[in-house]
């Protein structure tokens, strides 16, 4: 009995086509390299190099007071990793010139009467100039600096009136990523981006190549149905992409120490489901275009929106509202949520089932669309 099942599988048209596609992919050395090398290289490169954190912002200080009190004040900027004092200036003009050329992010000017006012307990005005070309960095550094100054103020006021002030102690617990390691965020996001780009491009180029070479007519003339032809094209790619995921997981775990908290078998299964989405997009593109060039250009038409709107590198909540609505149409958005959920948060299907259901419907719709389109074009 067992033997006959195996025989039916091995003797089936699907299996014959599958072997053909497999041999075709494995003979194409360049395509193999393209499928296996870039994911690893880019995961490593971006994981190490990208960091949205703000550290070592350069501060310039013009201290007209030259007193022990003013030096004590400037010490506060050494207290966080966010700032590094890059230079002390003798006059404000030089500092402003450096601010203008982008050598500084913030320039602090301390007035000559700082020590005097401090001794007489008069309010002191310190000036902070920001290079606000990068609005985001400027607003973050300005909120850091006001925090530092308010800490400085409260140090002096609480010292004089100990215990007389009400305080609220804010106790922070950081979930999922207690070390606030930015590479975890990047790595778990890049995952989906690379696999989408590679999957859709490779699928599109495999299909369009048969079209260009004219061998697709031969495929259609075989007794195999269009569904079989497409599925046989998809399967070897699925296997290669699954290998990609396993490599990527290995890199994430061993190089970046991403905790991989969820059930990995379930995760890989969902990833395969997601590849189906990516591959269907690729096939759909290929059925609409006549040449390799057109296919790839159309892929560029489709891939950047998918990548930019998925929230893998920039938070979705910072996008304008109409863009936020568009993100719901992006399958990669759901896969990114699943990646972060499984790999960082350690939640499973019980929480992420809505995302999986949505991905499943994307896969079904896109797959049947591409099969239909394929049939129409060649029928």
């Amino acid at each position: 009995m067992k033997n006959t099942i195996l025989d039916t599988i091995l003797g089936s048209r699907f299996f014959a086509l599958f072997t053909k596609e497999f041999a075709q992919i494995f003979r194409n050395r360049q395509l193999m390299i393209q499928l296996l090398l870039p994911p690893t290289v880019f995961l490593l490169l971006f994981g190490f190099a990208l960091s949205p954190n703000f550290e070592n912002l350069k501060i310039g200080i013009t201290d007209y007071s030259h007193s022990s009190k003013s030096r004590e004040f400037t010490e506060i900027f050494n207290q966080t990793k966010a700032f590094v004092i890059s230079r002390y200036y003798a006059n404000q003009q030089d500092m402003i010139a450096d601010l203008a050329t982008g050598k500084l992010t913030v320039g602090i000017t301390i007035p000559p009467e700082f020590a005097d006012d401090f001794a007489r307990k008069r309010p002191i005005q310190v000036q902070a100039l920001y290079d606000a070309v990068d609005a985001n960095t400027a607003s973050i550094s300005s909120s850091y600096i006001s925090q530092l100054v308010s800490d400085y103020n409260s140090r002096y006021s609480t010292a004089s009136q100990t215990g007389l002030r009400n305080q609220i102690r804010l106790q922070t617990s950081v979930f999922y990523n207690p070390g606030l390691d930015t590479s975890w965020f990047i790595v778990s996001g890049i995952f989906g981006i690379i696999l989408t780009t590679i999957g859709s491009q490779a699928a599109a180029s495999l299909v369009v190549r048969e079209k260009e070479a004219g061998t697709i007519e031969q495929l259609v003339m075989t007794p195999a149905s269009n569904t079989e032809v497409i599925l046989a094209k998809v399967c070897p790619l699925l296997i290669l992409l699954t290998i990609d995921v396993l490599i990527a997981l290995l890199v994430a775990k061993s190089v970046f120490g991403v905790p991989l908290r969820g059930n990995l078998v379930v995760f890989v299964a969902i990833a395969v489901l997601y590849f189906l989405v990516g591959i269907s997009i690729g096939i759909l593109i290929a059925t609409y275009s006549k040449s390799e060039q057109q296919t790839q250009l159309t892929a560029f038409f489709v891939n950047p929106p998918l990548v930019l709107l998925c929230g893998a590198t920039t938070p979705i909540s910072s996008m304008p509202t109409f863009m936020q609505w568009l993100t719901y149409l992006d399958p990669l958005r759901y896969f990114t949520e699943i990646c972060r959920g499984f790999l960082l948060k350690g939640v499973g299907l019980e929480t992420l089932w809505p995302q999986v259901v949505i991905l499943l419907s994307f896969a079904v719709v896109l797959m049947s669309l591409s099969i239909r389109q394929f049939r129409q074009q060649l029928g």
């Binding site: 550290e55 985001n136 609220i168 929106p305």
Partner: protein, 372 residues
């Protein structure tokens, strides 16, 4: 061997005619950048506003409500759930909120007793470390503001006078926009050039070029000129679009930007031709261009993440990415307005990189003819 301008011109015309015949490609090459620019401009922002936030108020007193109102007033937080019975860890698991605040039942009692500290707890989703840090900072600032209000803030010693230069309204489009222009025009010049070159190899028409009296340099310059023109047309269109949608226009001397646009597009085209003649196959050429020219420019040019954050060991990677310098120049042209004094260095580097990419492509062409 002398360079004959007439031949170069003929080669350029041939290339443009070929491109003009492929309607879909031409439409995409002109239309796609216009869409990409809008996407890059609007969708890429690290600004943390409207943080999804939940507050579990176990105290339910006027004081705790006042504290909550302070959070509502900041317009940094978007209150998604509030009440004594909500489950913050569960909301974090589902990704519905980025942070949650728990106000304990003894909050107002502790506040009333002088010298006693009330304790509140904030739970932050650390997946996105950047957002987490900022949320923590905002929560602390909001709490400080509430406490200062409570105590009457007469005891301030140092007050900070802040001035935001070049972009006083802190409009992030002023920053993202110029970068988006750069990234948008990055893709097509090398892509089209690479594809056209690889196609000649795939279809064997390159043999005809060898047989003709065209020299390698003439072939290279002719091809490059065609795609350079397409690229410059893109630059023009994208600039007009940025003016219409983002309100960006030159605020100072525009010559550095114009010069470096010419250089930048040339860089891309030479790189594309180099890739095309190395891979000799359209689909590999595309993969190579999309990874080297596009992904690297997008991620490592300082467009979204500051270059200063890249570890020193990897700093050399972005210094080879022309987009990095072009972005500096374009930010100066549209937002800072210093002109030549501020950007002579990036312009100079672009000149060097252009000659570098030219020599790469040129050497490839020389070798190619020897090989065949």
């Amino acid at each position: 061997m002398a360079i004959r301008p007439k031949r170069i011109f003929a080669q350029t015309v041939k290339e443009l005619t070929q491109l003009g015949r492929d309607r879909l490609t031409l439409t995409l090459a002109i239309g796609l950048p216009l869409i990409l620019l809008l996407l890059f401009g609007f969708a890429v922002s690290l600004e943390v506003n409207k943080i999804n936030f939940a507050i579990q108020d176990l105290d339910l007193t006027p004081k705790s409500r006042e504290y909550i109102a302070t959070f509502e007033r900041t317009n940094k937080f978007n209150l998604v759930a509030i009440g004594p019975a909500i489950n913050i860890p569960r909301l974090l698991d589902q990704g519905k909120v980025s942070a949650g605040l728990i106000i304990p039942p003894e909050f107002s009692r502790d506040l009333r007793r002088l010298g006693r500290n009330a304790e509140v707890q904030i739970l932050v989703d650390g997946t996105d470390a950047n957002t987490a840090n900022i949320v923590r900072g905002y929560a602390k600032a909001t709490t400080n503001a509430f406490v200062e209000n409570l105590n009457g803030s007469k005891s301030l010693r140092v007050s900070l006078q802040s001035r935001l230069w070049y972009n006083p309204g802190l409009k992030s489009l002023q920053y993202i926009g110029p970068g988006a222009i750069v990234i948008t025009v990055t893709l097509f010049p090398p892509l089209l050039a690479g594809l056209a070159t690889a196609k000649e190899h795939e279809q064997g028409t390159i043999i005809q070029v060898y047989v003709s009296s065209l020299t390698g340099t003439e072939y290279l310059l002719g091809k490059a000129a065609a795609f350079w023109l397409v690229g410059m047309a893109e630059v023009l269109l994208v600039n007009i679009e940025a003016w219409l949608f983002f309100g960006l226009w030159f605020i100072g001397d525009s010559t550095p930007m114009i010069l470096s646009s010419c250089l930048y597009i040339a860089c891309g085209v030479f790189w594309g031709i180099f890739i095309g003649s190395s891979t000799k196959n359209q689909s590999s050429a595309i993969q190579a261009v999309s990874f080297t020219a596009f992904l690297l420019s997008l991620q490592l040019s300082g467009f979204t993440y500051p270059i200063a954050n890249i570890p020193i060991a990897l700093r050399w990677v972005p210094s080879l990415v022309p987009a990095r310098y072009y972005i500096e120049i374009s930010r100066d042209a549209y937002a800072r307005g210093i002109g030549w004094l501020g950007v002579w260095f990036p312009v100079l580097t672009l000149i060097l990189l252009t000659s570098f990419f030219f020599s790469l492509a040129w050497r490839k062409m020389q070798n190619m003819q020897i090989q065949s």
